[in-house]
């Protein structure tokens, strides 16, 4: 079967919906229709996948929550670190990243949890303490004092550990609010950001967030494997640790 112009329009419509993470097929009949075509018509699916491949994106899930896409870093759709709100400083970027990985580790404590379709709850203060406890466990290994490392060679956990849990600003515009110099600020910032990306929802009681299916799908299908591969490689060849992160890691050649 040859695809007609209408079919290509539908592919475009489908991708337009897919790049908006807050759109849901349940709310839009048109989305349901084009998603239904993707799920049932193999020609349509192959063509849509090919277009997405050209955009350096791939379908992670075509379930009831819509077409969830994973994008490679070189895709025009890729989220860049610079797009992350309030993460301009190097320490901010690092802590934000650690919190993000930490949230996934906290929500899915075992590999089997990554397979289980269920809402995960996370309380900001509890998570902050959990993360701190992990960092403290790392500290105990070198309690006897150690040489001062060069800039950029101190371990990542120190960046988190050196921040106080909470710190409320007392001057100027930040007065009365959590300061970016404390860990809880970053936890809330990341969770709030996940809400914007459709990967979490704020609970009405405050202080608690619910991680959605979209988050689970992204962690499982996109983020874990390249990070794991990279870390495994670093562990095998410690001298090559400073090699930049290969952009095509986890992709087929």
């Amino acid at each position: 079967m040859t695809l007609t112009q209408n079919d290509h329009t539908d592919i475009g419509t489908l991708i337009a919906y897919a790049v908006q993470p807050t759109q849901r097929p349940g709310r839009s009949q048109e989305y349901r229709r084009v998603l239904g075509r993707y799920r049932t018509e193999s020609d349509f699916r192959i063509a849509a996948d090919a277009v997405l491949h050209g955009l350096s994106a791939q379908v992670l899930s075509d379930g009831d929550f819509g077409l969830v896409l994973g994008v490679s870093p070189e895709s025009p759709f890729a989220f860049r670190v610079g797009d992350m709100p309030h993460a301009a400083t190097r320490i901010g970027r690092l802590v934000a990243g650690l919190v993000l990985v930490g949230v996934a580790a906290y929500a899915y404590p075992t590999p089997a949890d990554l397979e289980e379709e269920r809402i995960r709850r996370i309380t900001d203060v509890e998570f902050e303490q959990w993360m701190r406890a992990i960092c403290e466990r790392m500290q105990k290994h070198d309690a006897a004092g150690e040489p001062v490392p060069d800039d950029g060679l101190d371990e990542a956990w120190r960046a988190y550990h050196e921040m106080p849990s909470t710190l409320v600003g007392d001057r100027g515009r930040g007065s009365g609010r959590l300061s970016p110099k404390c860990a809880l600020y970053w936890v809330r910032n990341i969770l709030g950001w996940l809400v914007e990306q459709g990967m979490a929802r704020a609970d009405s009681t405050g202080g608690t967030w619910m991680l959605t299916e979209r988050f689970r799908i992204q962690v499982k299908d996109m983020a874990s494997e390249p990070a794991y591969t990279f870390l495994a490689e670093v562990a095998r060849r410690p001298q090559a640790a400073n090699r930049p992160f290969a952009a095509d890691n986890g992709e087929e050649a």
Binding site: R24, L153, L231
Partner: protein
């Protein structure tokens, strides 16, 4: 007594049962114990309830727990599944009836206590885990086994986008009483029971039997749903099952549906006869049972649809998955294999990982492609509507709303409203929240807080050229919504009495605006008389 449990020796005491016949050594014995464990979370909830601040022995948590599971099951699989608040609300009503003299907040707390216990919120919704003993191996030595299950779980409803509650198989079985047996047989037994009861006029029992029949249908559908979900996820995991057990299961289910539909139609006819009875109690019971049976056949029809689709799903997934690159063979343990090594890396290398993780986890983000004519048009449009909206502020003429004269408690209230509602939000949502703020005493203060929010939102939407006169407004907006807040309009109007104009969307920063789709609020909670 000790020798009763001893290993069989040569001599058997005549008259007493041989140890081999003791049920504790029977292979099915641990399963019976495991069934018993299903009720243990409820027992623990009862004990925990006694430690709460309400007087002991006031509320029957066991009844509440079963009622909660029932509430969930009644909606499960349909369009409007029960949410946490639905179930807590139902239990609150029961608690109010139990102890009308106690405060309403306590009624709600007992409802939350019960549902939280069923979800195992105390342990971050981990599965309930209990250790039991097992003596069934050949040597009859002692082994420990672990029983793990959940009763209720929270899931995302794909259509409404809400979080809903699901009863697990374990909960359904615990509720109907240890149904670790063949569902099909049990259902036949129920039908026979119901028929006999109707014949005898034992309507109460008949009704109970009908409820049990429905729960069994839900349980069967849940089973099939699980299989189809696993098939969609990864065919290889269940292909063995499809090759062996599934065809038989589908046949059984088909026969089951055919049998049930027929039986239930027959029963329904019988029940309808009873509708004409002179005894009012009998007619009422018959009407209830008729409704139940109608609901049952709806359940069977839903199950039937699943059965019809099942084979199609299998073939389709086979087609799809055979040409797909293999799924990840290995799912890493994020905590141990990623987070821990990541924290130990030097921060330069760690940044490489976290930056990549950030892109990977986000998914697509539509790039903004500006078109000049459109941009110019928008810029002008913003000016225009701002000029219109300025007429809104009648107070401008009446008095001088000099920003510094706003009381600090009003500012705090406005800030609180924003924090509570969370950005991005619709202006209408913020207004309603401000107008119903329990933290402000007088309605005049609430009105003022709402006006401040509206002003700040308008300022975000169309900032005037900053001159000395307006620095206060900039400061006000930043204090209420944050320094980078932006607002946009999408033709939706505020639908609240006393307010008009665009229902602005306020987002914490420009990037968030693109994806923001907050819901407008059109209820008028401060006007109870207008309730529909």
């Amino acid at each position: 007594m000790d020798d009763l449990f001893d290993l069989p020796s040569g001599s058997t005491v005549s008259g007493s049962p041989a140890p081999a016949e003791l049920s504790v050594f029977d292979p099915t014995f641990p399963a019976r114990v495991a069934v018993l464990m299903r009720s243990r979370p409820i027992t623990e909830a009862i004990i925990a309830a006694n430690r709460q601040e309400w007087p002991a022995a006031t509320y029957d948590v066991a009844t509440f727990a079963l009622a909660a599971i029932d509430l969930v099951i009644a909606q499960q699989g349909f369009a409007e599944e029960a949410t946490y608040n639905d179930v807590v609300g139902g239990l609150t009503t029961l608690a109010r009836r139990t102890a009308p003299e106690r405060p309403a907040s306590e009624h709600r707390r007992i409802g939350e206590h019960t549902v939280d216990a069923l979800l195992n919120r105390g342990e971050r919704e981990a599965p309930f885990t209990y250790r039991i003993s097992d003596f069934t191996d050949k040597a009859r030595s002692h082994q420990r086994r672990q029983v793990q299950f959940r009763l209720l779980v929270e899931r995302e409803d794909p259509v409404r986008g809400e979080v809903v509650l699901y009863a697990t198989r374990d909960a359904i079985n615990a509720l109907v009483g240890g149904l670790e047996f063949d569902v099909e047989d049990e259902q036949v037994a129920n039908e026979v029971l119901l028929e006999r009861q109707l014949a005898k006029g034992a309507f109460d029992a008949a009704e109970r039997a009908a409820v049990r029949a429905r729960l069994l249908s839900v349980s069967l559908a849940e089973d099939l749903h699980e299989l189809i979900k696993n098939t969609r996820r990864d065919l290889r995991a269940v292909i063995q099952e499809w090759a062996t057990a599934v065809p038989q299961r589908l046949t059984t289910a088909r026969e089951h549906i055919a049998g049930r539909m027929e039986a239930e139609h027959r029963l329904l006819a019988k029940v309808r006869e009873s509708l004409e009875s002179d005894d009012q109690q009998v007619t009422m019971a018959a009407a209830r049972i008729a409704a139940l049976l109608t609901e049952c056949s709806r359940r069977h029809e839903a199950l039937h649809r699943q059965v019809i689709a099942a084979r199609g799903v299998f073939l389709e997934e086979q087609d799809r998955q055979s040409f797909r690159p293999p799924a990840l063979g290995h799912l890493p343990d994020i905590s141990r294999e990623i987070l821990a090594p990541l924290l130990a890396l030097d921060s330069e290398t760690a940044l490489a990982v976290t930056d990549r993780w950030l892109s990977d986890i986000t998914g697509p983000r539509p790039p903004k492609l500006p078109r000049l004519y459109r941009l110019v048009y928008d810029l002008w449009a913003v000016r225009d509507s701002a000029a219109d909206d300025r007429d809104l502020d009648d107070d401008d003429e009446a008095g001088d709303p000099d920003p510094p004269t706003i009381g600090p408690h009003i500012m705090d209230a406005a800030r609180r409203v924003v924090v509570r509602t969370g950005l991005p939000a619709r202006l209408s949502a913020l207004l309603v929240d401000a107008l119903t703020d329990p933290g402000l005493d007088s309605s005049a203060d609430r009105q003022r807080a709402a006006e401040i929010l509206a002003l700040a939102a308008l300022w975000c939407f169309a900032p005037e050229a900053t001159d000395t006169e307006h620095t206060a407004s900039v400061d006000l907006t930043a204090r209420i919504f944050g320094p980078r807040a932006v607002a946009d309009a999408d033709d939706l109007k505020v639908d609240l009495p006393g307010w008009d104009g665009d229902d602005l969307i306020i987002a914490p920063h420009p990037e968030a605006l693109a994806t923001a789709a907050p819901q407008p609020v059109t209820e008028h909670p401060w006007k109870h008389a207008e309730a529909v």
